[in-house]
Amino acid sequence: MSSVFVTQAVVDAGPVSMGEQVAFYVLGTGSLIGALGMLFARNAVHSALWLVLTMLNLGVLYMVGQAPFLGFVQIIVYTGAIMMLFLFVLMMVGRESSDSVVEVLRGQRLAAGVIGLGFAGLLVAALVRSLTQVKPIGLAQPNAQGGGNVANVGKLIFTDYLFAFELTSALLITAAIGAMVLAFNEKRRRPAYAKSLQQELVEARFQGNRPSPLPGPGVFATANSVATPALLPDGSVAPESLSEVIESTARERLDPDLLPEPDAHALTAPEQREGES
């Protein structure tokens, strides 16, 4: 089918160079592979990475199609920002979680597949048919005038599509408010103007039991992780040196076989461990 596009372009917009053909086939195949990979990858993160491949290929395709600005925007905004958002959301949902395979409506998947393929077939057929009647114009001529592609885009944004452009700021504001409303929990912080001052911190420290900093983790020849406790002169563990985060992790949740080898209590005698807990 792609040959239809190319040969049609030959007819109407002058000869197609070898370079263009090669670029088209390579990039087209790449984006198609990326799209299929995204659909069929089991892991959501892999899906997202396949999507990156598609987006990159499309971006280069735009550049080859003499729309360098669009190509760069595609790469910067989509493969950069949007993809990052995708991955953050995937991580938020949990890397391990996968789609539920239960079909809520019976036969829905089959029906959706058939209708989707039918729709795609219809659209592709219509486009192929219409290409015989459409004269490709290309951007070579407009790009040669008015200072190049980016300058022409700038001119259009600030004249013909000025209102649409200014209206996008409303979209951006809404997006920011939405992210704040749905994702930001205000209760957990003090307002910026009431932040504890350095002076208060110092006073709290000196009025407390421990003016000095907490002891650091023990560093021995066998391990240098922060999970390793410091030892007191009598060989017992200094409790202050243990990280709160590590201690508060629910150890029961972890499979005992997979527990990290030198853990926080590795150097403690068993009876002492029981005494602590």
């Binding site: 917009a13 910067i76 938020m92 300058a151 992210a179 307002p191 391990a223």
Partner: protein, 128 residues
């Protein structure tokens, strides 16, 4: 003549060469290191270095999930990314657009700035 290879691809050729060089260097370094470097293992070498902790199958906090606050970061990044997308063509055409264009882009930046002010005052930029 819609297409001339010379017009379109040539400017990207150095870029492409750079990519190829970078990729080649990366692949070469990674594959060559095990063969030409000395190999002396001890246990501490495989440990996480000082600030790290022992990796476990599940990340320690939150059961393998990232806190939702990252979403805000990503959204703000997109915000400024889009703003930049509009700034670039403006900068290229700034001379011709003149005062009028300046007013328009300032209006745009200021209105996006409202969103920024909102996020800032509500503490969305504080990292706890």
């Amino acid at each position: 003549m819609a297409w001339k290879e010379g017009i379109v691809l040539q400017p990207y050729l150095p870029l492409l060469l750079m990519f190829v060089l970078a990729a080649g260097f990366a692949v070469f370094s990674v594959t060559a290191a095990p063969y030409i470097g000395p190999r002396r293992y001890n246990r501490a070498k495989l440990d996480a270095y000082e600030c790290g902790i022992e990796p476990s199958p599940q990340p320690v906090v939150g059961g393998g999930r990232m806190p939702v606050a990252y979403y805000l970061t990503a959204m703000l990044f997109i915000l400024f990314d889009i703003e930049m997308v509009f700034l670039y063509p403006f900068a290229v055409k700034a001379d011709d657009l003149g005062l009028f264009g300046l007013v328009e882009i300032v209006l745009f930046i200021v209105s996006v700035g409202f969103a920024y002010a909102y996020v800032w005052r509500r503490g969305g930029l504080d990292w706890n």
